[in-house]
């Protein structure tokens, strides 16, 4: 069992340890980091703004995307066509719920965070049941849950006037010296989930199920249960992101999560994770999220029309997919 686990754990790499630079460049996350640096420098060159300010602002805003994206990454990595199309609706509902719970009081921060995450976890659980036990395709199961949540939010949002706690709102923009705390939190969350995915038995099972569910089943894993857990994680992460985003943007709104649906999938793809499942790269996802955020900044400072921003985001995901290594590609 342990023997097998370690074997799954070592990703196929070039054995030449001597050429370290080449190894770094060949890492699946490298393109995302390189792209991020290029866009970052481009903004500095065009806008003439401080490079550090650009990056720290980008990292703060990217953190929402990192949190949602990690959930999406787990769902995509368990394979079987896994995709979560409910994240934007989960975010919006959690935003309203947590702001109602917090009601502008700092004492209710924990309750608000827990409420938002629990709502997301419940939504993810329903998706998981529809997909793994009723047998719906992930697309339909999550979309159905998403539309259900949208309706709940529509009914429910009419009656609440929630305000995020001021302390939580301040937290999302606070800085220690030059370092943005919220950006740091995004990095910490990414590191934690990278460790979960690559260093724990659970994480190894997630990737193993994504690679060969039957083999993982023989190795003593229940593929359906592992896949179900990914939807629960995704729901919880989307809920958490919704709470933070509501605090950051001063309050909940009905369109709060809508731009995160495609973006959450885009960052997974940009980060070098396999869209067919079986390999999740959290570091690449983080870089991909900063890259996407900086791209929006670049589009804004060059006064690019909103249409171009859609085209760039959509084309980027398709082009990266077309160029990336893909085990399912026809020879």
């Amino acid at each position: 069992m342990t023997d097998l686990d370690t074997r799954v754990a070592t990703r196929p790499r070039t054995p030449k340890l001597s050429d370290r630079a080449l190894r770094v460049l060949k890492h699946a996350a490298a393109p995302a980091f390189i792209g991020m640096i290029i866009v970052w420098l481009a903004i500095g060159a065009i806008a003439g703004r401080g490079l550090w300010d650009t990056l720290s602002a980008g990292v703060i805003i990217a953190t929402f995307l990192v949190i949602v994206g990690i959930g999406q990454l787990f769902v995509i990595t368990v394979g079987n066509g896994g995709i979560d199309l409910s994240v934007s609706y989960v975010m919006t509902l959690s935003a309203f719920l947590s702001c109602q719970i917090m009601a502008g009081q700092d004492g209710n921060i924990v309750a608000g965070l827990v409420g938002g995450v629990v709502a997301g976890v419940l939504a993810g659980t329903v998706s998981a049941i529809l997909i793994e036990f009723v047998g719906m395709p992930p697309l339909v199961g999550t979309l159905a849950v998403g539309f259900g949540l949208q309706t709940i939010t529509l009914i429910y949002s009419g009656s609440v006037v929630g305000v995020a706690s001021p302390a939580l709102a301040a937290f999302t923009t606070a800085q220690i010296g030059p370092i943005p705390i919220f950006g740091l939190l995004g990095i910490v969350i990414a590191v934690i989930f990278a460790i979960i995915l690559k260093r724990t038995s659970y994480g190894r099972r997630v990737e193993a199920v994504g690679q060969k569910p039957i083999a993982a089943g023989f190795a003593g894993t229940n593929p359906a249960l592992i896949r179900a857990s990914a939807y629960v994680i995704s729901g919880g992460m989307a809920g958490l992101a919704g709470v933070f985003l509501a605090a950051y943007s001063g309050g909940p709104s009905l369109g709060l999560g809508s731009s995160y649906q495609l973006a959450s999938i885009a960052v997974v793809v940009l980060g070098g994770s396999l869209i067919a499942g079986g390999r999740g790269i959290v570091s690449g996802l983080w870089a991909g999220a900063v890259l996407l955020t900086l791209l929006t900044t670049l589009a804004n400072i060059t006064r690019l029309s909103g249409g171009w921003q859609f085209i760039i985001q959509g084309a980027l995901i398709v082009i990266v997919l077309a160029l990336s290594k893909n085990p399912l590609a026809r020879k």
């Binding site: 979309l143 539309f147 949208q150 309706t151 859609f310 959509g314 084309a315 893909n326």
Partner: protein, 331 residues
Amino acid sequence: MTTTTPQATSSREPRTLGSRLGGAFGPWFLPTVAAVIIFGIMVALRPLVASPTGLNLVLAPLIPLIFAVLAQMFVIAAGDIDLGIGSFIGLGNVVMAVVLPQNLGLGLLMLALMVVAYAAMGVLIAVRGLPSIVVTLGMSFVWLGIAILILPTPGGAVPAGIMSFAKFTTPVIPGVIIVLTVVTVVVALFLNRTKYGAVLRGSGSNAEGVRRAGWSVIKTKVSLYALAGIFGLLSALYLSGQTGGGDPYIASSYVLLSIAGVIVGGGSFKGGEVSVVGAVAGGLVIGLLGSLLQFIGVSSSFQAAAQGLVLVLVLVLRALAGWIQKVRSTQ
């Protein structure tokens, strides 16, 4: 095989309920009955609906949806799912409302290029083995972005020719009935009675079989995506003719509705299992349900949820029927 030997009947006997349930959820019978029932309720509520003018008024808004359902049906027949059809129809609408009146040649060229782009998308998905959900979702942002570049805010004026074409009717038989009948018969004859139609349907369910029979799987995918593009443009044509103006977001609800129409109409996500008559009936069910909800005064924001709920209900019932069948056959 239909001539039942005594043995076959006896082995089929114990699962009559299961097979009857399965048969009832089969290709086209149930959705057609459902459409008739919903229409009957509408007539009972407002008898004028049954008059030629009433028929035109109730059914005309469903024509673009039916074309979108058929476009989705071609993609589902390929074993894929199209999340971009709504934005694609929106772009078609914008081209017809803004570019066509100013420059006929350029407008027609753009529409032709859109179909080519759809076919190219099919090539990309087939050759690289990419998940259609992510590619079409990415491309949906490209279509939307281009549409917004052409027309940032709703406006434009559709040429009078298109408007009179879309509103074509005869004094005796309502135009909508003629369009529905002709389209259904032509597409059904093509898919069910021609050799290439069978190959196209086969490519989704058994690509290897199609390949071994000497047909190019990539070509079938190109054909299906091109057909989806053409039917998307037909949907845009009727939508433009009926509304008279352009709006990039005009068909955004068609993504879920078209998938729901195909599935309610007996289609299966496994691919290949699609029914043309069923898809048209499924589209009618989904569309008429929206009109019925409007009739009884349900707010439009809940219509999407209700239509999504029907999709979930059908899938749950179908899963249940399949499960009953399985349990009975193993006993």
